[in-house]
């Protein structure tokens, strides 16, 4: 509960910062809505409702929690149609009016079921895998945006258009990103759309409330950093949708209606009473921004002229080039001066990031074609190692290894049941494999158990028996396998079967 309040306070702060830097009707509406919406009772109940765990406990243990619910905050007056079982009799008697306990929101989908059976567990894991994918897709899009020159240009052009559409009046905000080539805008827009859709899908599917809040915060930070305010007709629905995703409780139609009405009222009020830019806030934010970022000043053209010495060096270099004089010293000095100039106009870390990304890409490109061979060779080595164990001096260990090899081959072909002990496999072999083979397998499984768990050492004949079974299994399975399974069988056997 307190965490949620802290998060709300942090959000308010963020919205206030956004408003301060980009004051306009749109940001004002966002700030006002953030402040006003929790006053709507339905939303307050949904958003500041008891945490999930508490709700579950309350649902399970009504008798215990009844005492805790004596706090007057959790009851409301009786309305016709409320089930009588929910009436808080004790408190009702004290206050002399009928009071009912707050119905616990049924947000937790059958908590007991989720982790019970392995099947349900895998179902619960699916959103996690999806979340991984969903995180991967936006990352990939971002990588492509950074590395593909056309997409990069397109993104810049897109940003410039956004700047142009911005409601902000900061002079230096417009056309800040150089080198826009507008032809590739569709590519950049498609990449951004894919990333956005992936993020939205992940948010809806994983039921994470952190993600939309994060996107909201990122959006806000982005706007504040670039000195950009989206037009009201974009930003208000965007934030409203994100807030809806974050609130987790949008199922109650009543609260939805109330929230929509509240947003509309606030927006209309602000558009009527206080439209446009507030000059006082604007100048204050301008001052702060100027004070904060000398680079922005540089971009706005306020950079001082290059010192006399540097221009002198540059002239000398040009002269030396023209005259064919290969003097090293002026060249070096020129480079130093040029670097200093670059550092003023562009932060260094962007270069480093690009270098690291390119390096990673290069490493991946170099390694990828070899990966299958590396994996194949490692598996072959392991298989040969296993086969060496077949001849080990300790017959018990050898029988174990041989039998496990048999089981592994059967598993490759889809026989057997991984969870069960080998002794119980006999039945599952029968429909696919001959009955007498299943019997020999059973006998050998008993031998395996003796080897693995018994205290007596086994002798050579038993090793022979196990090896015979292995050979028989191999022949049997080889004849039934298709090409793919043959490859896997051969791999399990150290690639020897391929020659047959």
């Amino acid at each position: 509960m307190s965490g949620r309040r802290a998060g709300y306070a942090a959000w308010l702060l963020l919205a206030a910062i956004l408003y301060f830097f980009e004051n306009s009707a749109g940001t004002r509406i966002i700030l006002a809505c953030s402040a006003v919406l929790p006053l709507v009772p339905a939303i307050r109940r949904g958003f500041f409702a008891p945490a999930r765990k508490a709700a579950r406990q309350a649902a399970v243990l009504p008798a215990v929690s009844a005492r805790e619910e004596d706090a007057p905050g959790d009851v409301r007056p009786y309305q016709p149609g409320d089930p009588p079982g929910r009436v808080h009799w004790k408190l009702s008697a004290k206050r002399d009016t009928l009071l009912v306990r707050q119905p616990i929101p049924e947000t937790v989908p059958a908590p007991g079921e989720r982790a019970l059976s392995p099947a349900a567990k895998s179902k619960g894991d699916a959103p996690r895998g999806l979340a991984l994918w969903g995180a991967g897709v936006p990352l990939l899009c971002a990588l492509l945006l950074f590395t593909l020159p056309q997409a990069n240009q397109g993104a810049r052009a897109l940003c410039n258009r956004l700047f142009a559409a911005s409601e902000a009046v900061n002079a230096y905000a417009y056309d800040r990103l150089p080198g826009a080539d507008e032809r590739m805008i569709p590519a950049a827009a498609a990449l951004l759309a894919i990333a956005g859709i992936a993020l939205a899908a992940v948010t809806v599917l994983s039921r994470s409330r952190l993600l939309p809040l994060g996107v909201m915060a990122a959006c806000t930070a982005f706007q504040a950093y670039f000195g950009l305010a989206l037009p009201g007709w974009i930003s208000v629905p965007l934030y409203a949708a994100l807030a809806l995703l974050a609130a987790r409780n949008p199922r109650a139609r009543q609260s939805l209606l109330q929230a929509g009405a509240a947003v509309l009222a606030v927006a209309a009020l602000i558009l009527l009473l206080w439209p446009g830019v507030d000059p006082a806030t604007e100048s204050a934010s301008e001052r702060l921004r100027d004070w904060l970022s000398p680079t922005a000043q540089g971009a706005a053209g306020a950079l001082p002229e290059a010192p006399e010495s540097q221009t002198e060096v540059r002239r000398a270099h040009v002269r030396s080039l023209l005259e064919g004089d290969q003097a090293a010293r002026p060249l070096q000095e020129y480079r130093l001066a040029a670097r200093e100039e670059q550092q003023v106009s562009k932060p260094h870390w962007i270069d480093y990031l690009r270098i690291v990304l390119l390096l990673l890409l290069a490493v991946a490109v170099v390694i990828l074609p070899f990966l299958p061979f590396l994996a194949l060779n490692a598996r072959r080595k392991r298989a040969l190692e296993n086969r060496r164990a077949f001849q080990s001096a300790d017959v018990n260990a050898a029988v174990c290894a041989i039998f496990q090899q048999v089981a592994a081959q059967l598993e490759i072909m889809g026989y057997g049941d991984g969870g069960l002990p080998y002794r119980a496999w006999g039945q599952s072999l029968c429909p696919g494999l001959p009955r007498d083979y299943a019997q020999r397998f059973d006998a050998c499984a008993a031998l395996f158990e003796q080897a693995a768990y018994g205290a007596h050492p086994l002798a050579e004949p038993q090793r022979r028996q196990a090896l015979d079974l292995l050979e028989e299994t191999r022949q049997l399975l080889w004849n039934r396998a298709d090409l793919q399974h043959r490859l896997r069988l051969a791999l399990a056997h150290g690639l020897e079967g391929l020659c047959e």
């Binding site: 019970l116 174990c400 002990p421």
Partner: protein, 320 residues
């Protein structure tokens, strides 16, 4: 199954048809020297099963029908003033000299009587007025309780259920078994046909053997993993206790001995797991609300926890 125990099982089957599995489990408990709680609806043969076992093994059998007014002194004995000797003399209770005590409807006894019996089960001896009296060896308690019509009774609390090695459920016989039973009772009293086929000494020797069965490292590892997994299972409020793990080991050894082996395998552990553990774990409220059964959860555990065959650190597990 060992031939001598096979004979015992066949004798018992004369009176209880179609309950081979339950008989094997009961014999396992007998070999392990652990006590058994038969928990089922009335009339499925709980008492008959115990009585037949007593006859077939030649155990001296005693039966206590528990009612709310059975007192602790009735079962552990009491001291009485002897006027002629001017001294207190000890009068032995029901438990003394009996190898097999059949505690019928233990849930009808008052809780202090229950606890007196459970103490005797745990210690194998009773203490009255500061004097300790040993009980017969072997000493096996087969307690029955039925959860139907349990109004006004005291179901055993979880802490006390933990003392029983196994809780068995008999269940109804199938069609053929029911027919066989009706046919057998037409003109004879089958209980009288049950002969004593196992001497007490032989049973003691077999119990010794069961204790000496080897459980190697992978098996102990498996039992530990099962216990740990049950403690972390979301559907279980209380998992398998350390005593539960010890009992599981004991029961698995007895089962191996029953099969005529001197080493425990993963199959043994799996075979006794549900009966040894079902009464030791407590479902969480969510699982109860979802209608999940304890057995279902335990079977799920057997599926998810890798069997020692695959997991075995011994014998060079195959590298995949």
């Amino acid at each position: 199954m060992r031939p001598e125990l096979e004979a015992v099982a066949q004798e018992i089957e004369k009176v209880i048809a179609g309950k081979r599995e339950a008989i094997e489990k009961l014999l396992t408990a007998l070999l392990a020297g652990g006590h058994v709680l038969l928990d089922d609806v009335p009339g499925v043969g709980k008492t008959t099963l115990a009585a037949a076992l007593g006859r077939a093994v030649g155990l001296s059998c005693r039966r206590i029908q528990f009612t709310p007014d059975v007192l602790p002194s009735d079962i552990v004995g009491f001291s009485m003033y002897d006027r002629e000797r001017g001294d207190f003399t000890y009068r032995p209770g029901m438990l003394h000299g009996a190898n097999l005590v059949l505690g019928d409807e233990i849930n009808r006894a008052s809780s202090k009587t229950q606890s007196a019996l459970l103490e005797a089960m745990e210690e194998g001896q009773v203490t009255v007025d500061g004097n300790t009296y040993p009980l017969a060896d072997p000493f096996l308690v087969v307690a029955t309780q039925n959860s139907v019509g349990a109004a006004g009774t005291q179901l055993l609390p979880y802490a006390q259920m933990d003392r029983f090695l196994m809780r068995l459920r008999l269940g109804y016989p199938d069609f053929a078994a029911q027919m066989a039973m009706l046919r057998a009772r037409q003109n004879a009293q089958p209980m009288e046909q049950v002969a004593c086929v196992l001497r007490l000494e032989a049973l003691r020797a077999m119990q010794q053997e069961a204790r000496a069965v080897t459980a190697r490292e992978p098996i102990l590892d498996y039992i530990t993993r099962l216990a740990m997994a049950s403690r972390e299972h979301p559907a279980l409020q209380i998992g398998i206790s350390p005593r539960g793990a010890l009992f599981l080991d004991r029961a698995a050894k007895a089962r191996a001995c029953l099969e005529g082996r001197d080493y425990v395998t993963g199959t043994d552990v799996q075979a006794v797991f549900c009966d040894v553990c079902a009464h030791r774990v407590l479902l969480s409220e969510e699982a109860q609300a979802a209608g999940t059964g304890t057995e279902q959860v335990l079977r799920g555990l057997l599926k998810t926890v890798q069997s020692p065959d695959r997991h075995s650190p011994l014998g060079g597990i195959l590298k995949k």
